[in-house]
Symmetry: C2
């Protein structure tokens, strides 16, 4: 139960992984496309995605030979709850965030990347 927080904060502690999360906030992406902007190997990015996935911050979904990565809407909840207890302050509206991710603009213009045939 503490392990979850460990994993989340450790995942957030790396700038590459934070950048990946920021990219996924705008669009679901294939692993190769996630890796493209970074000056490191695909295998390294694959490891980062594994860490983000283990922390519950993203999910990976295989479609054909392409694996699509997307944000896990509930992923930040544990961290937010801890921060809430820490600061005794208003924390974020995670339910609104989930709604935002699932129905909102973030995932709307996915055709910016190549289309996979359904």
């Amino acid at each position: 139960m503490d392990k979850k927080l460990d994993a989340i904060f450790a995942a957030l502690a790396d700038p590459t992984r934070r950048a990946i999360l920021a990219m996924l906030l705008e669009d679901d992406m294939a692993v190769t496309d996630v890796a493209a902007p970074f000056a490191m190997s695909l295998a390294a990015i694959s490891k980062h995605l594994g860490i983000l996935s283990d922390a519950g911050l993203i999910a990976r979904d295989r479609r054909g030979r392409v694996i699509w990565c997307k944000l896990e809407p509930d992923g930040l909840r544990a961290a937010s709850v801890w921060m809430q207890g820490f600061g005794q302050m208003d924390v974020m509206d995670l339910d609104a965030f989930e709604a935002f991710l699932e129905t909102g603009d973030a995932l709307a213009d996915q055709e910016g990347l190549e289309n996979q045939s359904p």
Copy 2:
């Protein structure tokens, strides 16, 4: 500027350090008293405090031979700003948090520990 976030999230990724922060939320504490509940050496705790301090999450203030540790009210700001941008949501009211720390109950009953002569 990214390094700051690295340091903050890395600091939060360790359960001992999160526990220390939770303790300091209730009271300013001397290093020895911080270390007391943990099953590790004082030197190890001293290192953890150094990491928290480098991350800007706590401040250490020497008074006599005792070093008092207290939360740095502004310490979580960068992390909160990042999360805010990430989720596009309210994260926390840090100004209220600062007010809470500086004038509120948290630091009020410090006489629970031994008094240092002024």
